[in-house]
Symmetry: C2
Subunit: 339 residues, 2 copies
DNA sequence: CGAACTCCTACAATCGATTGCGTTCAGGTG
DNA sequence: CACCTGAACGCAATCGATTGTAGGAGTTCG
């Protein structure tokens, strides 16, 4: 377990540690005689030298490390994002620290604090609330920062999101073309950008096809979960608004909606069509398979990592946000309304 | 962004950095006058001092960091394990590095190399094949190491797993009590310990209730996936072995089995009962909801982290492996066989 | 033949915190 | 009053790698 140090490598190659360092580093190899470099490299290989990145980081003040803040990894949304981030980072020699915050501000603060202590080179954040002083402080401090899947009120923070408006529009269009005219929306939490964006997109898309989208047709779920979705659906049913189709803020809310329909003896899609959002893994295997707006989570993560690396490598670079196109996965939860 | 250093804190408090260090460190605070310590602490707070853990790690050769190797985070098995590990580690002031290896040995080697370079204090590994020279090398080198959900041939590596034998037995007993006598098994890959363990447990459990469990009743899937499960099921059907129930090596294999049944016009549970393994998230929402052996993945991860911390804190401690009890989640994919 | 230059390589400082050891000084003891 | 003790703190080395600068060997050119 005794680690091999650069000094030992240098000794074996008969050179000074400084020379060994330069020989082993791609950027500085040009400063060293080719044969010497080869000798050093050979010595390093023979001794099984692994550079101590802690020592390196101390000196260079860069850690090749990125902090990744998530609400909760067990939410099926996030693993693909994480993989996207990780794959891109790894290709660039970086790796992510992952921390779950459960959306608790104290946890988030602690995580940021801990990341700072470990001198991460940047942050990828998937937990942003619309108002988030912590994040604004991070951004203001000049630490590179990219948001995924969410945006904050502050405009000058780069983010990567899906094109929610277009996604919602395609869902509404799909329902419209099937013949639905009475469509309602189970919106997500209104303190998160996606919840707001999709809700607003719903109204816009409905207007665009000439349908009514008054507030009575929208119920807000308090979280992105099945129970919250069920509660919202119950509320909507209680209002007595006629409807033949439901657009849910995400797939979990749609599942909650399923439960309520079943409880009330209604069948999907025979009585009510349901559209979800995210197209999460295995949602094609529930009964009935859910029609859902597909969000390319892996790509979102990958793109976020790319953006972050850009800023890390060139802090002067101006911020840039990316919006990825969404598609609709049509399955059996949507059908023509009964006439 | 300019970080506050210990030296600055010391200056402000009017003491030497060494004293400041001792004052700020719980273990050495006793060496410092109480009032001085208070002064230092106040200075640290005022300046917003965050210790540079890189510098600390360099000096102390400990990083409060653990490497976590996974095959693939997007496999729904792993997020709960990761959370279990993370929650326990965080409580102890540690945090995990997560790396996906996709079960590729080179990736695994690269990950271990990278972890070594970052001086992790230990490893939690969920990727172990039965034979794994890399891991044996790690274990032999004295680096603390705990396996989760898998075991390797080498006996003296601590591991945390579910009690597969008992889980399989409870599944078989359930089917037996429903009246099934012809039961077959879709086994997982046989180069992984869980695949082997469950396969063997199947034979044992069948014998225990007095049923035949010849090799013709078992088909091996080449991976823990739906397509592999489907292929194995097709093979089994091709053999013409009569059966009224299937025990799948895991839930994904069970889903593959569902597909094949449907393709052949058979219905579950009317024609064939199916039992899965893992009880993964949302498997209760597929059609029909899958009866499955529930594995406490979060607890497995948490326990693994605890074991690892034990070894990290006391390297002399003798290895200890833990096996957690499993329960059966009975749902609608199992029913009495048709008479 | 010596000055000027180019290549390499060595020296030494540095990153920020920890820690063994030495020093100082107040207080107690004989 | 000389001496010892121990608490509290300062000094300086150290972890392992990076990097600006100095210096030495060899080459070229006036």
């Amino acid at each position: 377990m005794q680690r091999v140090t650069l000094k030992e490598v240098a000794e074996r190659a008969g050179v000074h540690p400084a020379t060994a360092s330069r020989a082993l580093n791609a950027a500085t190899r040009g400063l060293v005689n080719t044969q010497t470099a080869a000798r050093v490299e050979k010595a390093a290989r023979q001794l099984g030298y692994t550079p101590n990145s802690i020592a390196r980081s101390l000196k260079t003040a860069r850690s090749a490390t990125v902090g990744l803040l998530l609400p909760d990894l067990t939410n099926p949304l996030f693993p693909p994002i994480v993989r996207g981030v990780e794959d891109v980072l790894r290709a660039a020699g970086y790796s992510p620290w992952i921390i779950n915050t459960d959306n608790e501000p104290e946890r988030e603060a602690a995580a940021i604090e801990s990341f700072r202590g470990r001198s991460v080179d940047g942050f990828v954040v998937a937990t942003a609330r619309l108002q988030d002083p912590l994040l604004e402080a991070v951004a203001a401090s000049g630490t590179p920062l990219v948001l995924v899947n969410r945006r904050v009120a502050t405009p000058d923070i780069p983010s990567v999101t899906g094109d929610d408006a277009a996604g919602v529009a395609s869902a509404i269009r799909h329902l419209y073309e099937l013949g639905h005219r009475d469509i309602v929306h189970l919106a997500g939490p209104q303190d998160l950008s996606t919840g707001v964006a999709r809700r607003q997109a719903f109204r816009q898309a409905m207007e665009d096809v000439g349908l009514a989208a008054g507030p009575e047709r929208i119920a807000d779920a308090t979280s992105w979960s099945e129970p919250a979705g069920a509660t919202a659906m119950e509320e909507l049913l209680g209002r007595g608004v006629p409807h033949t189709a439901v657009l849910a803020g995400n797939d979990l809310i749609a599942l909650g909606c399923y439960d309520v329909l079943e409880r009330h003896g209604m069948r999907c899609p025979d009585d009510v069509s349901v559209v979800g959002f995210n197209d999460m893994p295995f949602i094609d295997r529930v009964a009935p398979p859910l029609t859902s707006v597909r969000v390319p989570h892996y790509d979102i993560g990958a793109e976020a990592a790319r953006l972050l690396l850009e800023v890390v490598n060139d802090p002067e670079r101006h911020v840039r946000s990316v919006m990825l196109p969404l598609t609709l996965s049509v399955r059996r939860s949507t059908a023509r309304p009964r006439t």
